[in-house]
Amino acid sequence: MGLQACGDPGSAVDEPPPLAAGVEGAPTAQPGQAPAAGQTLRAVKARGYLLCGVHQGLLGFAYADNNGRWRGFDVDFCRATAAAVLGDGNAVRFIPTSSTDRFSALQSGEVDVLWRNTSGTFSRDATLNLAGVNYYDGQGFMAPRASGVRSAKDLDGARICIQTGSTNELNLTDWFRAHGLRYQPVVFDTEDKARSAYDREQCDALTADMSNLAAARVAMKRPDDHVLLPEIISKEPLGPVVRHGDDQWTDVVRWTLNATILAEELGITSQNLQAQRQSQSPEVRRLLGAEGGLGRMIGLQDDWAVKVIATSGNYGEIFERNLGAQTPLKLARGLNAPWNGAPSGLLFAAPMR
């Protein structure tokens, strides 16, 4: 097959190229049956590539570049997952999903995992499995400085731009009810539309997750003319979602994420990876598979974390590459800093033992 060259890691080829003749892309979980433990992992290995559900286009999180290669924060975690399972960060097919069909795509087996900035909630965990949090967020407000609004409580009777179908919509309602205030929602089907509507003064305030608000503020013509209000009205733990019932697969996805977090904590980057493999620190050695043989316990190779870090880097690298100060979004680490960082955040992964 002349095509296999497409899967060559590192070459600037089109996404995603594992076109393998004869290998069935078909799934894995039988629809209508809860997947048995290990089924997804086996299916992904047999197939030779991962089916990763991503957003159909979200600034910084998932988008295709001019050459058709998918990029973004969530996309990098897709690649990391593929690297952990298959040793190759390009062995992924990216499946764009809309907010309507994302969970049904997961349940019917069209995707193996959703890295599609999805808020974890109780009811979502009841029918699916949340496999961790790769982005801690909270909903807040932004208002023009000139309006004199300094607290969300000043927003009585205001129009508020918001993206529809998101948990943001519910939080907003709850918060205003709890405080006995009135408001008028101005809804949009995408985040960027809500943002540009606010920019055109179609509403008096914009509500979204804080990360998005900070990004929106930077994108304004004069960022200093806008203030982020102090109230954070909700918790938004965004993270990967997998099917209910396949515990091994949940572990694989959760520990892919944890590996990037631990790597940052231990100072392992994609640059110093080879040097770190010689490290004498037992923690580093266990993470990189030099001792302990931990990978095998969840059905992976011992050097799975090496592959993850070589592909996407540690959490900090992924963040900075897609969302951080070097990007137009210019997001601060905020809650998404390591627990022992300065300033500290919420990233606190269980140890490799």
């Binding site: 809860a34 349940q107 529809t164 809804v187 055109r200 179609q202 509403c203």
Partner: protein, 379 residues
């Protein structure tokens, strides 16, 4: 026209074919239902309609009836359905006006009028509606913000938050309902009498006009005054406000459907024999009278069925509201309620039932109208 007798007799083969088809249809539906139930159970997903009673928990931007987030999903359905029907009704009226003007202009003598109408029709009909909607939305939201509103007098303001129009203030809703019922009752009683009473034929027209005037007069009793939009801290208050999503949805539906209606009108006018107009003119009818009494009634018969199917298309196309955020039935119930409850079969099923029911009702009404028209024309 004689209908064939109801008791048709079938050959044995025909009976077998029918029985097999009926059985196959039942079997397919049963198999689908059984599969769905099994799948739902296996995935631990809820089914049934209990969710309709649960509180929805989200706010809706626009509603004709009182709505609060603690209200149930059933009420969300009602709010969405009323929003869909109202935007469709307004769109139908506006598209008809634009369409008739453009359709008549396409048969005008003036080259410029013909040209402008043709450009309009060809653009409206040959570009996708979702794209038109996005463009209209971009145009409307490019209007100035409230502090620099485009004003027409002190009554009409266009801003990027919508169009503010003067409105009539009315008595309490219960009284308005009372007056509407009263007006309808008195009006229809008069009309019925005019249509059925013997010997009243000559006065029929007079009575009909009287019924309309009387009805309007009764309705007028409900009006308490005029409300003008005025500036306040956060934009405008008072008057009638048409929000940008509604405005762009209306503009797009009107623009798109108007193009189709223009073609129907043109075809309808063309279908009336030229000789008819000439004959009417020879009888001394004025051009306006000719159109009103001769051309239009005949053209209308040709135009009615395709017009109605355009109206139904408009109703269905109003579901694109989700693209710009107008809270129609598909957006609030088939979108947000579905996302909250995860009960896709039930929510989408109810949405489809609504649309099919409205469509069937409308086409049934028109079919019976056009049958009556045919009967009259034969006579």
């Amino acid at each position: 026209m004689r209908r064939p007798s109801k008791r048709a007799s079938f050959t044995k083969g025909e009976l077998i074919i029918q029985a097999v088809m009926l059985a196959a249809a039942v079997l397919v539906i049963w198999a689908l239902a059984a599969t769905a139930l099994a799948n739902l159970r296996a995935r631990g997903m809820a089914s049934g309609f209990e969710f309709l009673e649960r509180p929805a928990g989200f706010q809706i931007a626009q509603s004709w009836i009182a709505y609060d987030p603690v209200d149930s999903h059933a009420r969300v359905f009602l709010v969405g359905a009323l929003n869909t029907l109202s935007v469709a009704a307004a769109g139908i009226v506006l598209a008809t006006v634009i369409g008739v003007v453009a359709g008549v202009a396409r048969r005008a003598r003036s080259l410029v009028a013909r040209g402008a109408a043709s450009v309009y029709v060809e653009v409206a009909r040959n570009t996708p509606l979702p794209i038109q909607l996005l463009v209209w939305y971009a145009l409307i939201t490019a209007a100035p913000p409230p502090r620099a509103a485009l004003a027409l007098g002190d009554a009409i303001f266009l801003t990027n938050r919508g169009l503010h129009l003067p409105s009539l203030t009315t008595a309490a809703p219960a009284w308005v309902l009372f007056f509407i019922l009263g007006a309808l009752g008195v009006g229809s009683a008069l009309v019925l009498w005019a249509l059925t009473a013997r010997g009243a034929t000559r006065h029929r027209r007079f009575v009909l006009k009287g019924a309309v005037v009387l009805g309007l007069a009764i309705l007028g009793l409900a009006i308490r005054g005029v409300s003008l939009p005025h500036r306040t801290g956060f934009g405008f208050e008072g008057g009638l406000e048409v929000s940008p999503p509604l405005l762009s949805l209306l503009a797009a539906l009107t623009f798109y459907t108007g193009g189709y209606i223009a073609e129907i009108v043109r075809g309808g006018l063309a279908s009336v024999d030229r000789g008819q107009g000439e004959a009417a003119a020879a009888l001394g009818l004025s051009p306006l009278q000719t159109v009103r009494l001769v051309t239009l009634p005949q053209a209308l018969r040709v135009m009615a069925p395709p017009m109605v199917s355009q109206y139904l298309n408009l109703l269905k196309n109003s579901s694109l509201a989700v693209v710009v955020g107008y809270p129609d039935l598909v957006a609030v119930f088939g979108g947000t309620s579905l996302n909250q409850t995860g009960q896709a079969i039930e929510t989408l099923g109810l949405v489809l039932v609504f649309f099919v029911a409205v469509s069937l009702t409308l086409s049934w009404a028109v079919n019976s109208w056009s049958r009556r028209q045919q009967r009259w024309s034969v006579r």
